[in-house]
Every structure is written in C-alpha cells, then in structure tokens.
Amino acid sequence: MKSAFWIARREIGSFFYSPIFYVVTTVFLVLYSFLFFAIFSDFSQASLQAAPQAAALQKAGYSINANEMVIQPSLGNMGVILLFIIPLITMRSFAEEKKNKTFSLLLSSPVHLREIIAGKFLACLTVISFMVLLSSYSIGFIVVMGEPELGPIFSGYLGILLMTGCYIAMGVLASSLTDNQIVAAVIGFGMALLMWLLELPAQSSDSGMGMILEKISLRSHLEPFLKGIMDSSDIIYYLSFMVFILFITHQVLDSRRWR
C-alpha cells in the first residue's frame, strides 16, 4: 500500500497548488458560516426570550439546548453544502490524469489499480477533512460560549466524515468514467444528490419500496450520528457503500483497458 500513499501525497500537493482548491474552500466556509451564524443568532434570541421562564420550562421537560438547536442543524447543513462541494474536489481524480496522459505513468509502474484508487480516495478525503476542520472554529465558538455536550459533537463529525467518504467514492467513480472534469463533476453531483434524496418518496408513503429507499438513502443514516447515536449498522452501511462504489470504479478502469 506504500504506492497509495505516494499517489495520495502527490495528489494532495497538487490540490494546494491549484486555485480550484482555494476557491472551493472559501465558498464552502462562507456558505457554512452564513448558515451557522443565522442559526446561532436565532438560538441566542430564543434563549434570551426563554430565560425568565427557564425554571418552569425545565420542570415541564423542555430545555434550550445548544447541541440540539445549533450544532445538530449546522452539521446537517454542512452535509448539504458538502454534497455540492465534493464533486468539485473529486472531479480531477482520474479525468485529469487521462486528459494529460499521465495515467500511463501510473499504469506502467508496479502499482495495483486498487492502490491507485485508494490513493485518489485518501487524497480527496484528506482535503475535505481539512476543509471540515477549518469550519470547526464554529464549534469552538459554542464550546467557549456555552456548555454543549461533547459526545454528540464527536459522533456528528464522525457521521459527516463517513458520509463525505461516500460522496468522495461516487465522485471518484464519476471521474473514472470520463476525461472531462466538468462532466465528472456533474455526474458525481447527480449521483450524490440522488442518493441523498432517495428517502423523499418514503416520507409520503408507507409502502415497502419506500422503506427500502429510506434505508438506502445516505441521509437517513446521518440523523442518528447528529443526535449522538453511534449505531454499528450505520457505520457498516457507510463503509460498505464506499467499498462497493470504489469496487465499481476498479471495474470501470479495468474494463477500459480491454476496449
């Protein structure tokens, strides 16, 4: 697997060299921060209004809770923003190699195809994690100002990271299908959005099909993480989703050699 790290390292270096990375990171941070502060100001207003009756509310079982009212929706928003942003990071993975004819260097080196894919995947994951890390200043803000529970924050970030992995896998697959980066971004975005929206029909019907779609949808597995529930079945779902998509990527790239 050493080769995968070489590939990932080169890829990450090349991200920091390209303007796309900086533009995408800036857009991501601006969007996220805007939504975060909108939620945050709502919350502070609500808590200010509720302050006089705080004791009564608590007795009745209600609470003004920073975890539930700020962090949880903010991480949910981050999941949506990442859906739009990630295809722009993953689009170059294979499309650029094919366009610039650099893929033959990787293919003629003693490197397995799975190592190449792993390297590309790791590079994108590192870059997106870095972006998410930058955005976590907002959580630091809440930790300093209030007293949120730390457990749900960690589980929320783990959920985001796992879902990010799934988006990246789909983006890398899209990139393996074409040598045009724009096409790769559009396909990657389409796949991610479809997997995200899959649970919509389930909300309007109780049919068996709806239930299945809900189980497949990426989003339905994120909710528990945001609430602080780490269920092994959700973790296994995300991991197997990634492995499956990356396996298809492997087959796509392998079959191209035969044509």
């Binding site: 050493k2 080769s3 070489w6 090349s14 610039n100 004819k101 003629s108 080196s109």
Partner: protein, 314 residues
C-alpha cells in the same frame, strides 16, 4: 529479453496489431520503424503492461505480460509518446514521486534522482516547475522518469517527436549513451533517426511486420525499383515479351495468364506506355496501378530527408 509471439490487438472490429512475432536480445538497441498508425504504440503499450493483448503472448525478461505484469513493470522504463508529466510539480519532486512509484527504497531516492538529473542534463532545472520548461527539457524529464529505477529495459515511444533539430540531436546522443548499458526498444517514423541509433530494425506497417534485420541487411535486400500491376481481360501469348520490350522496363513477372508485375527504375513512370501498348494490342485493361505497400514503398515513405537536422549538425 523481449519475446513476442503471434501478438494481436483488436480495438473493436479494427485490428491495430496483427500476428506480430519478434525477439529482442539483451543489450540490443532496436528501432521500431513504421508510418503513423502502424501499431507501434499499441505494441509498446502491451509490452509495458498498460494494455492486454487480444491474442498471442509477450514475455519480457521471461515474465508474461498478462500473468506477471507486476514483475515486468519493475524492470522496464516506459516513455510514452506524450511524456506523462504532472505540469504543476517541480522536476525534482516529480522524479522523487516517480521513484516512489517504481519501488525505489526511500533511502536511495535522493541518489537515484541525482543520478538521472545528471544523466539527462537536468541539473540546472531541478527546482523548476515542469509546466514552464521547454518541450526539449520536458522530453528529458520524461526520459529521466523512465530511468529512475535503473531498469534493464527502456521502451521509448517516439522520443524525438515534436522537438527542434538541436534538441533532437541531444536526445539521440543521450539515447546512444544509454544504449551501452540498457536494452532499448524505441519507435520512430523517421528512418535516419533509426539508422543513427539502432543496431537492428523492425519495420511494421498496418499492424504487420514487413521486415526485420540489421540495417546493412535491409539495405542489401532492398531493390530500388518501382512496380506496376497490370491485369488484362483478354489474355494472349507474348504479352510478357511485349511488355519487356518497352523502354526502361527492368523486368516483367507473369502471375497467371492475365496478371503482370512490371518493374522499372524508381523514378520512371510507365503507366502511359503500358496503357498505350495494351490499347494498341486490344488486351483490354482490367486494372493498372502502382503496387502499394511493398517494403520499398514503406521505406520510401520513411526516408524523409531530415534537412533541418542536417543543417543544425553542420
């Protein structure tokens, strides 16, 4: 070192390489010569394990390209027609990356990079960004990349294409130097290039080998003639004699009653005379055309005068 047996590669219904067989021995510098689209790149891609063959076998250092490709990849250095360079990296960083990919032990990477920088004359540009280098320097970086793990075999696809004359001379000199220690297979569509660098030539056209010999051998076997094919509708006695009696005809071969191959000097056009004779004699011309794709024709196509390079040399 390289053995190819009955190699065939089809892209859909079109076959790029048909039933190719040849051998390359250790220490040889072999030129793979043919016009554009002859199947040179396809063959090289199969040898460097990038493409699988449709049929047939290829072995490099005794390893099969299909079953033992990882072993082969360790011992070959491949420079594709477009050098695979990451435009945003510096020369030294790129070569370190290539060394890592080719399993050079981490402790030896710096030494390996220094070695190829020296060999390819890249010392002055080691910190430059590849995308800002001239085409000639980029080609050298491509060559350096192929040599970074000190491979036994170098496969170079059109190493001088797109370079200016001075750069071409430099790259050829470099390849000649490398040839003393490596087995090299290089492709080209320029005959003089191959005659300068290689000991042996494989000429390929439309996916098939048309000749394979040393250069002297090829020159000796070459008959510098032009051939015309004539097919007639009314076979008669004495056609061959009458054709031979024509001015400037070297020889006439009859292939059956109605089919004749007329040979002449390469710069003589006999179509008019042959046609006039055939009309006078009422043979009925079914077909009259210059014979295509003989070895000589291919050679003629390849013997493009390299005026610019000669001028630069002078």
């Amino acid at each position: 070192m390289i053995e190819v047996e009955h190699l065939t590669k089809n892209y859909g219904p079109r076959s790029a390489v048909k039933d190719l067989s040849f051998q390359i021995n250790q220490g040889e510098v072999v030129g793979f010569l043919g016009p554009n689209g002859a199947g040179k790149t396809t063959t090289m891609n199969i040898l460097s394990c990038i493409l699988p063959a449709t049929e047939g076998k290829a072995r490099v250092c005794g390893f099969d390209t299909f079953d033992q490709s990882m072993e082969i990849r360790k011992v070959i250095g491949y420079l594709p027609e477009t050098p695979p360079l990451y435009q945003d990296m510096s020369v030294a960083d790129f070569l370190r990356f290539a060394a890592g990919l080719r399993n050079v032990p981490i402790k030896k990477i710096t030494a390996a990079v220094d070695r190829v920088l020296e060999q390819c004359g890249l010392g002055d540009v080691r910190q430059r960004i590849i995308g800002r280098l001239s085409k000639g320097y980029q080609q050298r970086v491509g060559l350096a990349q192929a040599m970074i793990h000190d491979p036994k075999i170098l496969i170079l696809d059109e190493p001088t294409v797109g370079l200016d004359p001075i750069q071409i001379i430099e790259i050829r000199k470099l390849i000649q130097e490398l040839g003393t220690a490596h087995t090299i297979l290089l492709s080209s569509h320029i005959l003089p290039e191959v005659t300068q660098i290689c000991q042996r030539v494989i000429i390929i056209s439309e996916g098939e080998i048309v000749a394979m010999d040393t250069l002297d051998g090829l020159n000796a076997s070459m008959r510098h003639v032009r051939r015309l094919e004539l097919k007639v509708r009314h076979p008669a006695d004495g056609i061959q004699n009458k054709l031979e009696a024509l001015d400037k005809v070297l020889s006439v071969q009859a292939r059956g009653q109605d089919f004749f191959v007329i040979e002449s000097e390469p710069d003589v056009h006999l179509q008019d005379e042959v046609a006039r004779l055939a009309l006078d004699q009422l043979w009925g011309i079914e077909e009259l055309k210059p014979m295509t794709l003989t070895l000589e024709d291919i050679f003629l196509k390849l013997t493009t005068e390299e005026k610019e390079v000669k001028e630069a040399l002078a």
